[in-house]
Symmetry: C2
Subunit: 600 residues, 2 copies
Amino acid sequence: MSEVEKKSVGIVHTQTIRLIEPEQPLKLECGKTLAPIDIAYETYGELNEAGDNVILICHALSGNAHVAGLNGPDDRKPGWWDIMVGPGKGIDTSKYFVICSNFLGGCSGTTGPSSINPSTGKQYGLDFPIITIADMVKVQKILLDKLGIKELLAVIGGSVGGMQVLQWAIEYPDFVKSAIPIATTSHLGAQSIAFDAVGRNAILADPNFAGGQYTDEKGPDRGLAIARMIGHITYLSEQGMREKFGRQLRNSDSYNYDINAEFSVETYLDYQGQSFVERFDSNSYLYLTKAADYFDLEKDYGSLKKAFAKTKCRFLIISFASDWLFTPVQSITMVNALVANDKDVSYCDIASPYGHDAFLLEPEVLGSFISGFLDATHQPEVKKNHTGKRIQEHAQIHDLKQAHRVRVDYDVIESLIKPNSTVLDIGCGDGELLANLIADKNITGKGIEVEQDLVLACVNRGLSIIQHDIELGLENFADKSYDYVILSQTVQTMKNTEMVFTELLRVGQKVIVSFPNFAHWRCRAQLFLAGSAPVTKQLPFEWHNSPNIHCLSLKDFDQFCKRLAIKVEKKIPLIKTSRSPVRFAPNLFAEQVIYVTSKE
Amino acid sequence: MSEVEKKSVGIVHTQTIRLIEPEQPLKLECGKTLAPIDIAYETYGELNEAGDNVILICHALSGNAHVAGLNGPDDRKPGWWDIMVGPGKGIDTSKYFVICSNFLGGCSGTTGPSSINPSTGKQYGLDFPIITIADMVKVQKILLDKLGIKELLAVIGGSVGGMQVLQWAIEYPDFVKSAIPIATTSHLGAQSIAFDAVGRNAILADPNFAGGQYTDEKGPDRGLAIARMIGHITYLSEQGMREKFGRQLRNSDSYNYDINAEFSVETYLDYQGQSFVERFDSNSYLYLTKAADYFDLEKDYGSLKKAFAKTKCRFLIISFASDWLFTPVQSITMVNALVANDKDVSYCDIASPYGHDAFLLEPEVLGSFISGFLDATHQPEVKKNHTGKRIQEHAQIHDLKQAHRVRVDYDVIESLIKPNSTVLDIGCGDGELLANLIADKNITGKGIEVEQDLVLACVNRGLSIIQHDIELGLENFADKSYDYVILSQTVQTMKNTEMVFTELLRVGQKVIVSFPNFAHWRCRAQLFLAGSAPVTKQLPFEWHNSPNIHCLSLKDFDQFCKRLAIKVEKKIPLIKTSRSPVRFAPNLFAEQVIYVTSKE
């Protein structure tokens, strides 16, 4: 058995069952009814005794139920997410029971516009009722009920699959324990609708479309190919296309000087268009893009905050930095709405050059996030001393930054936090302090961190962690929503200190801040006597490579608090060798200091 | 006469003349010949006696010769760049004589694929030879020769028009005094080729295309409309579309639940497609997008540096921040190639939400740049004491930043510069120092500045100015290419100090750097005695709002130079009240300091 075979789910068969009988048609969101409804699905792995290891995968626009493995011994092409689903992979089929069904309106076994309309005996075509993402999810729920599934450990999907994930989390809060919407959005923007509309136009303009009543032999193939080409460009990034194709010519080094396709990227698109025509149905394309265009959680529920209000699951939201179809900003909007509802949400914008399609092309990083999150959800004890392989690598690579992250103040900060309180840790690093606080003091906490590898470490620990730059403020965190906000060894590296502080004091009952004292006697002496910018153990950097962009002392911070009417509840000047506060002339002798502050 | 009429060129008529007679066909780049060739053009303003006020405008893909004014008393729609061209406008027709011709291959009066093929008596269609940007420019040159034009003050154009501008500057170095390529590129990337290819596919897939031999009554209208829709999306930005359309519905507040166009953006695209079909020819669309795809200065000349090697004109390169079709990076690549050739190039990336189409929609800002550059080129004396309206506004708005820019060290720095030398001023602000040096010492200079309004001020002064963040280094500035590189009052605000300094010393024979002395006695006293971060006249900011992210003293800089083996040629410690250097204990008494440094 080869390594590839070992990591494959092997040979699987797509199953099809009748979900909706002709006598009891399904009421759709558009008001019409549909019956019968058949559904095609595949499963991988095994349901455990507790029935708590079920993962539902929702596929994207052009996907189908065949996620992983091969459909027969002669099948050469594994399922569309084979790199992610299998034994030991991101979605580990040796642990989890994985289900995926072809969605309603599809053309790969589930009832859709190419199915036979029982009232005419011909294919539905444009007589098929408009379906929505909510309809698709409703049908998936009926399937799971039929299969005897009692709860979902996770619903996972990218792009249009991610929309279904969101719909699942909202509509079935008691059924779903966690949701991983990837590279998706709560609604399409004007640009995405525009691309979809042009694609539909191309199909409708094809004379072979014949009002939707085309045949297998003579369909709107050219129109569908053009629609696919447009879509395909939006799935890639400019950088990705440049690196893959550039201006490479198909055949020679010099131009042919004729009107035909000549650049490699043209040939590639032609191929994408052609191969799509062979496996996809034009009517389905019309209906499915329309379903995506209609999807709008804000419109459906009044606001995104209201949409998420009744969710109960953990969320891991993932975007990709180069995705310009469903952009990181669209994911962040959802994160903000979940935060405003005080939900358990983690978020990372994964650095990738592959654009929207990165959810199919970044198995390693994405797989690490998914597997860490699934494990933490399945076995939810917070890992106090966890350090994964990636974090160790990270520490080596970024030793300077890591050095800066050495937190001699953690013990003292921990002693200041009351048990069972709520804590927001800004710049939480790999989540050590938060994990300790959860384990030792039973707090409820959330972390904010910029670096992707540290965000992953926090996900692996089972923490709720949001990738975010605090310099942008804390939009959507409610006033006084945390007992404590912690800012450890960060204030001296911030640009917008005043704005950030105002934000922290708005969100936290108390803000605990620690920083190195720039007026420590060693610093003073270096500047006064030697005339040099201070370099000490607490301020270990030379002037030109320091991440510390502000120099401040206890006195400076006192004045800052006074000016902004911030109440200093406690001030704990520290030297490294002792946890006891410095009592005499702290601004002279303290190497660092911890403040507990508050504001009405 | 209304204000609008006063600022209009009034009624103009498109003229058409025969440029190429059947007997003497034009040899095209593809190797084929073409004859006859007629060309349509318009002119505005008057040729002056010196014949030195001629501006050629090159239009973009779907443009034509009708740039400004109306084509008749009943004409309701002014020319495509009427907001830019007219008396008192960005391209001022009361000063300049402006010409624009419909390019070769077009469908608005100039010979193109919809013209009659003399050998068949039918329209050319796909028998028209492939034309290139170089062919278009060649034909424009023949027109100008025929009109008796001896030189061009400027060639201006956006998008595909910008490609013609680049070709003009390269092919006719002695004919062109300045070039303003806007929102353009030296070659299309894979993504742009892909969009063009899909558009062409849509036209070719339309059964009415009939191999290019369609009629006016029955042409590939749906295909052309789809091509235009795709193009149109790429001309806008995601932000622009979101703000203009969002998810607004055409008719009602609720969905129709049918397959037809329903969102406003769909209706808008339908309209754009339809109106384009009424004024444009499908064959022209095929040939012109192909010409754009073929355009590749790197391929044609071996490299972009080689392409620009023989140019003699001044360049003003403009990009728009939200343009994702021809991105700012593509403009910067051209700027770098011109810099590597030591050419007179200015560059600004204009902040605009309008995407690629911003060149048609930002008349105020773009007009200021163009008019300032044209005036400075037409009357090339450097303006020493120029402060334009915008700069005064800027000073009011950004008073803090401006305060930071007060340069008490300018006089001393000027005294250090030898006459007739070359100077690169990093962070040159509104160009005061450079202008003084040019006026007083006859230096040749270039400025680098980040802020758009200050870049504009420099353009208005007639300086060569590149918008650039020095933290990114000085890629493509050759080793030792300037006698002096000046970095005035900036070192303490930089993040990558060591890298930047290494770059400056690579590019300059000497680097003159000035900064505030953090070890001045007032600073020392404040930290030593009061324990506060210093706030003085030279360091006027509190710790939390300071742009000065590094604190350094003379001693610190001495050590920095020693470590990097930088030779300190001169060190001039200064106090504000005197231009004489501080002689006693400079690290204690100097408020600021000027260093002259160098490195082998």
